[in-house]
Symmetry: D2
């Protein structure tokens, strides 16, 4: 049993992590912290956990956290970087579900996140936790930077094209639609039901923080910088990301369907749909799966990839558990075999 | 491993049963039938099952079904009653998720369901599958009539009051709100998103088929006929039933909170919330739990019970699996430990 | 043209009032105040008003407001009572869409609203603005207390029964379902889409502020105190209230359908549906209509009334405009002939 | 008063047309036909119309329709083309809200719509009813082909770029998100609330009928054939289209914001939002407005245009009324001044 702690468990990433860890056969969840809710039983805040999680939130305490083998950070950006050095120094491994260690270029990170980085010295060792790319490094990592939700859907969808040098990497487009839980559990007018139900809108069109993260991942795969237009949209649903990806692929000789199937043949959580399919976000609701469909409309040069995930699972807490499984040598699917809830 | 079959698996009850059985450690699902979809892989119809269920739908065939130890009927009303006699004769046990065996009074059944009963001789032996009332009989039953969704929520909410003779049983009111999946997966104008989203309405106010079922259960508990007004409402959400139950309770000396807690103390799937709580349907989304809160507003004579379930789980497929567990001597919670999906 | 002002126009009641007044042929909207948004063009906050409302929010200023013939308060509770005395003194008529003047019993008001009343001396003259009850008094009023949303739906549904002494007034039940816009436009976790979509729950079961308001109205109609159980539910939709009303009516000799049709025969905004109907909230979305259906299930003693309104129109801004029309001798339907948006 | 008839009024386009025409000061609606519902009062099918429309559906009858000055077809594709020749012959003007006359290339039309065209001889004279392009021709037209919903949003968004030769017309992308009402009021599993709520998916990626219509319009504006990738998505809401349009614009010297503002300066129903804005579909719910925002993310070569309409208003019935106003010399905004319903 892995002794585990969670820092910051009052958001949607936190409750989803609790749902998964509470049912995980190899995890002993010892502590969950929250400054704002210290003392409150976790199941008072999240009634779905009644009977499944008996812990109460506690004040973050480095001594207690140090007794864990693994600590997850489900905190806002900028928190993990302050506590990680000491945890690592004490031999605790860390998975950060926030963005503190996702971007290797620290200046770039500081520009997008609007703060000074508090532990730049650990960024280089952080492993970007996309198992389909970095599985071996994750296994050995002390510090894993769990990917963002949009970046997971977008990278998994684009990678086969880019790794094979098929796409024109100067003009990639990722038109992404996210459920509202992606905006978090904080009180805010913009995500009230009465504001965002029965409506659709793009947001952050001039620039969203996930842009440099996606670009970094695709550029690594390409071996040179990519040009990406990334457009997030707020969609009137709770969970789910639908990434609609456009790439110019002049070469018509490659069987793209086969290419994708081969690329992900051994991946437990990437499912390439049969040719001609349309991926639905509901097919992954509550599950750690990314489902992908590939199209070349009108046999033209524009290839369209449809990539869907549950933003809170493969896009956050589920991927974190997958990374934990890899780090600790467990079956990669352990605790992650939930079937999506449909309807 | 219990050799199991499903007759009629193309509706929402069917897909939910598949989700639960596919993850059940003691079940060997051998056959799933559908006349309309025979030959189609189950996961083509329900993409959430890709990688989890490899079966294809097949034509219903009594020979094949007879090789099962247990057959679930997830069919429309009126189908099970035609096949049950032969299955029972061959030693197969049956759980009918439809209404064919729920009402003991055959004339009453025929009036509400508008058809002749095809196997009246087996109605008497059918055990009404509400474990919180009939656990022992279920364990020995050959034929279990799985309760309806509204009846499950309403009976579990009313029973403690009625079993203790506290309520005026001549004027019970059950104001129930159901998600749209309760209306099934059939094409119909009334349950299109564009018709029933962003709207609330009562339906079947003059009389709904679940009225005699609830009345039968409450009358048994009371030892005499109850007078019940039952009002179902179509609510703009997929899953969930919220039963708001009203009873006149003149006796103010009883601690109702304690009464409910004691009544369900040993029940794995009934959770009495702390005094003053409000039950939310989302707290049971995808889970087999019924959550109940008890109020006596303004310390008056009207007691209000809030009872929530997932109509497809505790209100259908989950309760069927719970009944299976009881019938076959398994841990009653086996395969039913999913935590509700929140948010 | 009536010179009109609005105090507090940044909430949902405010934007709805703006929508209606901007299209009203007899209204000259001169000022709209908001402390928090002073200086911002109204249409920056509410883009639906682009091209229709050119005003910017301004600081509330008694001098400017005094130049209006009529001032609407679309403020939180407790604001209007501080400004009303001076406005009345200067000859300005007032319609308060908040609750400051709805309850005649000031102690009762203070108990439910948790504050001292700042102008108790004007409560007695305030006319409760339910035109179907108080039309003549409204016409002459200086100060109109616009009814709450639940109280409008519940009173219009109960009144015919109570005015004719048909119902047992000691055990009335109002089971009400409201869209989320009723909770207002303030940032709050509980009304985030990710919290209240795909879920149903009751709230404030121990006691909601609209209880004394409904009781006051029904008690007046009855000539003696009524006993009412009022249960509000948060429903996953933006607009709409569905009141399901239960009353014991032992007298079976009265034709209730005819009674209701006669009671509201001359009312422009109450529509009694044909016998056997079910009222849908979407049939009044955006319209000032209250639609009502009457049932007596199983020919029993429990009469069920279904009463639907748009909480922001007949339940707030539309009724306020109706009151204005009456106060200023205009056609009562002026500016209120919008047809509900369906689907 | 224009004597007007509607053929086929039982769908969403029909009820929206009724909502608009019932409130139009210059329209005398004389007849509305429906084979399936002949004899039923319109307001029985659409309760929002109670008190506003007194007509009943009648069998289509060419004699009665011939007494109208204008007939709208709100029928499925393939109906109008059978009745139009006779109506034109009798001097009746026609606006077809279906697709029969939208595509000038009859072979192309037959390929996409899968049927023989029944009156190819009238296709050439049909005027494509996009007032922002064809206002003068519409004024004189006998036969107007009302544009599709996606084509309206996409063309209005792309046109300024293309008319000025700024975009690379060989690689245009229209990623469009539509509410479910766009799929119509027919019973169908795919548009049940329980199927398409809480989910997002693309559909018809290999080819959608609106592709040739958009291409035709853009090619006309460009003066040569365009290459367009068009991806429609089913979005969990009732109304609204959000078109996210991508074009390569290498020329950085043009002020695109000014270009769009000038192009639509005199258009009553196109609203260019301030620079940096994000268009929301709810800002046009129930209104005939198209709202557009223009972005050039990261100052790159990819220009992004956000274009939103209500698919049933500017995308169907509202545009048809706008065309009627133009054809009959009325104020173009007559009957179309509704403010969008927000929230």
């Amino acid at each position: 049993m892995i002794k585990t702690g969670i820092v910051g468990g009052t958001g949607y990433t936190g409750v989803e992590l609790l749902r998964l860890l509470a049912a995980h056969p190899e995890v002993d969840l010892q502590v969950i912290t929250s400054r704002s809710e210290a003392g409150m039983p976790v199941s008072d805040l999240f009634p779905n956990l009644r009977g499944h999680v008996d812990l109460a939130f506690s004040e973050p305490d480095i001594e207690i956290l140090s007794q864990c083998e693994l600590v997850f950070f489900a905190t806002p950006n900028g928190i993990a970087m302050k506590m990680v050095p000491e945890l690592l120094a004490r031999g605790v491994r860390v998975i950060d579900l926030a963005a503190d260690f996702r971007i290797q270029d620290i200046e770039e990170w500081q520009k997008w996140y609007g703060m000074e980085h508090a532990c730049a010295e650990h960024v280089a060792e952080a492993v970007y936790g996309l198992p389909e790319v970095n599985r071996e490094a994750i296994a050995k990592a002390r510090l894993v930077a769990n990917p963002g939700c949009y970046p997971t859907a977008a990278q998994l969808g684009f990678l086969p094209l880019i790794e094979h040098g098929l796409a024109n990497i100067s003009a990639l487009i990722a038109d992404c639609k996210s459920g509202v839980s992606g905006a978090g559990r904080g009180a805010s007018v913009g995500t009230l039901l009465a504001e965002c139900s029965e409506s659709m809108k793009a947001y952050a069109v001039p620039g969203h923080r996930h842009l440099p993260e996606i670009s970094q991942g695709l550029s690594r795969a390409a071996g040179s910088d990519v040009g990406l237009t990334f457009l997030p949209h707020l969609t009137p649903m709770i969970r789910g990301i639908h990434a609609t990806l456009y790439a110019q692929v002049d070469d018509h000789s490659v069987d793209l369907q086969a290419l994708y199937e081969q690329r992900y043949a051994d991946e437990p959580f990437v499912d390439i749909l049969p040719a001609g399919s349309h991926a639905e976000t509901r097919s992954v609701k509550g599950a750690n799966t990314c489902r992908i469909a590939i199209h070349r409309p009108q046999a033209g040069n524009t290839v369209v990839v449809l990539s869907v995930i549950d933003n809170l699972v493969k896009g956050a807490a589920g991927q974190a558990v997958q990374n934990m499984n890899i780090m600790f040598g467990l079956d990669e699917s352990s605790g992650l075999r939930n079937i999506a809830l449909l309807p």
